[in-house]
Symmetry: C2
Subunit: 224 residues, 2 copies
Amino acid sequence: MRTNIPVVKAILQANEAVASENRTAFDAAGLLAVNLMSSPGAGKTSLILATVERLPDTLKVGVIEGDIASTLDAERIAARNIPVVQINTGGACHLDAPMIRSALPHLPLTALDLLFIENVGNLVCPAEFDLGAHLNIVIASVPEGHDKPYKYPGMFQKADGVVLNKADLLEILDFDLEAFRHGLRILRPDAPLFILSCRTGDGLETWIDWLMGQYRLRRERHGR
Amino acid sequence: MRTNIPVVKAILQANEAVASENRTAFDAAGLLAVNLMSSPGAGKTSLILATVERLPDTLKVGVIEGDIASTLDAERIAARNIPVVQINTGGACHLDAPMIRSALPHLPLTALDLLFIENVGNLVCPAEFDLGAHLNIVIASVPEGHDKPYKYPGMFQKADGVVLNKADLLEILDFDLEAFRHGLRILRPDAPLFILSCRTGDGLETWIDWLMGQYRLRRERHGR
């Protein structure tokens, strides 16, 4: 497999160049772009919907949905009158920066304050590809078990923030919160951990306050 | 990205040649090799442990554990005195046939009847790589949601059997079993679906009976 390493590097370099262009476009539009990554079914779409419900009405949100196939998640988003673009990767296990670039003309970028990018459900490959987002958020969920940071370190190392979803199941399932926290601290000592449940709404306020803080910091940095 | 397609094909062809060698080695040893694939935390290790507990004592089981990092799962297996080899992929998102080949000298193949191969937790990439196993089993779990066959069709298309684990949570969570079943039927009309809970043990008998049947069929085919 050694002969393929240069090819992979070339792909990653080309990806980073486009990611940088995407970031410039996001900054020019004055929006905060957030890349959501998780295992399949950890609650990326649910987190977007629960977050949008609780944000101030004045804040305009857009979504890019990444899936291998189907438009199921995009339909859930569109049903709330949120501008959404679906990217079907046709088998690819992650989103990359060129895919995001191709989606941007279909969104009212300058009218948006916040752009959620929902990556393909995969705790491995998406971590390798910078999309140009300002924040990488990793969503873990209680039923997946507390050992995920130890088993998928590459993903958690890329996290600017970690959401532990389905916390309403903490009482029922055998999940060692301290072991999870410890695994995360080894990889990303400074990344905040938000323990919440999109189903019950518990814990969402802290996540939303932090996200709003990140949004305001970025606006100030760009003098708006 | 078009220029990379020949490279990927070359990798897959090389992989298939080694997969075929692995299958020959498994047949020569008279064992049934089972490749377990799922999202992170769906219960691959738990299914192995729950299955081994309920198999006849005369049946000798071995395990190959695939993880990006850590030996957590292999330690759980070894604690039950089951021969186990850990493959740490060092970042790779799937097992491939050469990795399996390199693990085989570390197992008492001819003494084994059943070999479980626990793939990296990933509902996308492992489906592309034949390992030489006789059966590909996909494990879904109730908390992941019923839409997985629609969103990850490539994985379910490769399934010779599907396990729906954590069925004890069906009563608590909003999971549409008929929608799941329908999505699976579109992709693999003939693949059996085993609805079970490794935690409570409910539903495991049917899975084990089927697995034993597969084992006996294979032994007969090879005249043992």
